[in-house]
Symmetry: C2
Subunit: 141 residues, 2 copies
DNA sequence: ATTAAAATTAGAATAATTCCATTTTTCTTG
DNA sequence: CAAGAAAAATGGAATTATTCTAATTTTAAT
């Protein structure tokens, strides 16, 4: 017996995080997972509409808020441009290529992740960090 | 002979970075340096007005853009709230206390800074990074 | 089936920032 | 020092992403 289609998995993921798997939420989450990019709310709205033409922009924002709150996606903000959303839950960094505007996930060694977490002085407590680079990505050379 | 007042220093700093030290720019930069906080454009505008009541909001934004471009200050963005400006040029991290809303600079060991810089895979080049934490700061205990 | 709670919706409102056209200031050159 | 050109500053309008609001629809629980 093959694995169920992604939609079922998505519903379960939502349920497991205590999020009611409404059609809109499933669609929004699916739209984020669709590609390995880091879509803006606007792009997510466009994708979601293809699956569920009646979905509204406000709902997309609501769903993104819910997904972010429940830690299923991460909101990432570069400069002051639109927020982007990332479904990669492993600790990783983000790299923005200032030429193409593309954003890449950069996996980080566990040892580095640990060092970063341990860099917090006494009295500071945090269970997450965001590490971002801006620069250029050059595949040819 | 004592050191000249800060204003002269500021002018020189600007000049050395190839930025024309206009009254507005000096005032804006001074306003950022005034406290060890991480003021928003709005707060900077308020401070600048005290010194130079004729300065406009647009100019504050222009100056901030110029200072950021010339790497004299760093723009830092948490979530989607107003950008904040930081004159601390050493590599460091930022910590936002979600209770008080305050932002703290966290100095980083040189070794950690190096590890972070070295974490970039081939083909990626960047000479800066931004590391941010969100959590709680608790001085009592 | 009924009710209450949660979610969705469209559109208005907001807030931060950017843009624009004009004026002022500064710099350069004669 | 005067004149012209370039850079910067200005006020206000415009933009953009996001949030809010009030009403409707859906869902879950009795």
């Amino acid at each position: 017996m093959k694995a169920k289609p992604a939609k079922e998995d998505i519903k379960n993921t939502l349920k497991n995080s205590g999020v009611r798997p409404t059609r809109q939420r499933v669609t929004v989450y699916e739209s984020i997972l669709l590609k390995r990019d880091h879509p803006t709310a606007d792009e997510i709205f466009t994708r979601a509409r293809k699956k569920l033409p009646s979905i509204s922009f406000a709902t997309v924002y609501n769903c993104l808020e819910t997904l972010t709150q429940s830690s299923l996606v991460k909101q990432i903000v570069f400069d002051r441009s639109s927020a982007r959303y990332c479904p990669n839950l492993s600790p990783h960094a983000h790299f923005k290529c200032s030429e193409s505007g593309k954003i890449f996930d950069l996996e980080l060694d566990k040892s580095l992740v640990d060092s970063i977490k341990q860099s917090l002085p006494d009295h500071y407590s945090s269970d997450n960090f965001e590490l971002t680079f801006t620069g250029t990505f050059n595949s040819s050379n």
